[in-house]
Subunit: 325 residues, 2 copies
Amino acid sequence: MANIREIAKAAGVSVATVSRVLNSHPYVSAEKRRRVEEAMRRAGYSPNSNAVHLSTGRTGMVGVILPFSHHPYFHALLGGLMEEALKHQYTALLCQTNYEAGEERRYLQMLRTKQVDGLILCSHELPWAEIAAYAADGLLVACEPVRQEGISCVYTHHYEAFLTGMRYLIRRGHRNIGFCIGRRDSESSRQRYAAYADALQEIGRPVQPEWIFEGCTDLRDGMRVMDRIAAMESRPSALLVTGDEAAAGVLARSRQLGIAIPGELAVVGFDNQPISEALQLTTIDQHLQEIGRQAFGAFYHGIVQPGAAPRRMEVPFALVERTSV
Amino acid sequence: MANIREIAKAAGVSVATVSRVLNSHPYVSAEKRRRVEEAMRRAGYSPNSNAVHLSTGRTGMVGVILPFSHHPYFHALLGGLMEEALKHQYTALLCQTNYEAGEERRYLQMLRTKQVDGLILCSHELPWAEIAAYAADGLLVACEPVRQEGISCVYTHHYEAFLTGMRYLIRRGHRNIGFCIGRRDSESSRQRYAAYADALQEIGRPVQPEWIFEGCTDLRDGMRVMDRIAAMESRPSALLVTGDEAAAGVLARSRQLGIAIPGELAVVGFDNQPISEALQLTTIDQHLQEIGRQAFGAFYHGIVQPGAAPRRMEVPFALVERTSV
DNA sequence: TTGAAAGCGCTAACAA
DNA sequence: TTGTTAGCGCTTTCAA
């Protein structure tokens, strides 16, 4: 409706002065500031963002790419990220891909058309090489380890984290250890699997394919896993589960089936999500909130220091001992 | 990076011509069009949206306000809406509120700052009167019946839909009918409850408070309801459930408990979601996709005919008979 | 069929 | 401390 010129006229000042109070610059007399604010209030004025963004070349928005946002994993990541964004007056724009490459491409395009200053990728469908092509148009941050020119990254060392989990179970006397994994095809998944296999090798045990469960992300997946284990003649005595949500499903079903935890089956989860505390589940905390915070930090660093080299940052994990082992 | 002026220079034409090919105007010679396209391709050019939006006064974006998007209810609504939006070259911007009024206000503010051309509200926290104050800044469409100056609406007649469901159960001989409802405080919920109570009155039965279950939205809620019913001495013989997701939970748990459907308990769901077909659940289809389509249609009508009066549109529902009654 | 030029609403360098 | 003014990148008359 009203624009800065009309406000200036109403307040009897120049547009520059109005712009100054809009951006809380110093060097505006108290009296003029008051008059400008009054004029804005009366006009119900809000600046046109398109004009602001065009003029400044910045949008104050960062896109966050994820498949969906309702899983506790992304929820935690987002929590830390948005908290940090808020602190620096940035707005996070949720970009849901539903695991579709086409959607992801549309969001990358937003970088090129200057709708966001950068993109934080919590997941990705496209190959990193294709994504990196957009580095010229804005900042790119990944929440997993990537080695690509122009992309910053913040990540957990999944190999070490899972090795830690495995050795912990082994120290507690387990030899027959099963493994639940989420999506198979990510780099992190490969690292996790490698740690699982290597740890078994350390104690001279072969990998038992029937003890490896793929596609475990939510509660119901975990319940299904427990059903399958219950039906086995030779069961594992322990389970390393990629997410707490799935681990919670294992626990829930085991109770229904009357299988004792940890007596008959020890369980180590991953992520230290709220549900794991409620269920007293031993888990590995990869500090997702911190990853989210650092991811925004890496983005913001690139904003504040244009031309700065991409960051690589490993966030430490921690084993949280409770009563499921 | 590159802007329209550089493309014009590279192609040896004026910026107006470049703008014309950008917007596929007629009256551009084939030869110049080719040269411009070639120049754009070589420069990897994409127009700056902020400049486009500022200049045109339109953004080609519509915000869709909802608490979250992963529930089948919103999924269906969004499906129809986005399909229609795509058809008219509009982009839907998902605005998740998590049921927080503050978030909703921030999204309304986007209307004022011209980041979106309109807002379609699939849910709302703020009172309609407060929302209507933004009608001056863009188009407002609600997915429920509202009577407020400046707001269009597309809706199901929930009272009639639930009356239909109740009478259907009554015709099938039921007298002891329970009722599952989602959130209590919406206008639709009130209508649904009124239909439930009125139908009981028609057959001279009182409302039994213990047969009314609130807060039923997902599968697990439905399972809990079934557990409670199973524990009752005097059980209802039929259940009218606000959403198919919750109804599916009732069915799932009843199977585990060995309670026959529809023999011991008849169930009517709502929404005709995919899961209801899988489970052969009798349900009331409120044609959510159509509501989504019409909601976008109401918005788009306001774009195409500026100044047009807000629309009110009732979408018909239909009872889908399957085997749970 | 084409181009020159005046905006769209704001920011920021510069001068005062 | 304030105002003038030249952009930011695009669209769209208007005249040719």
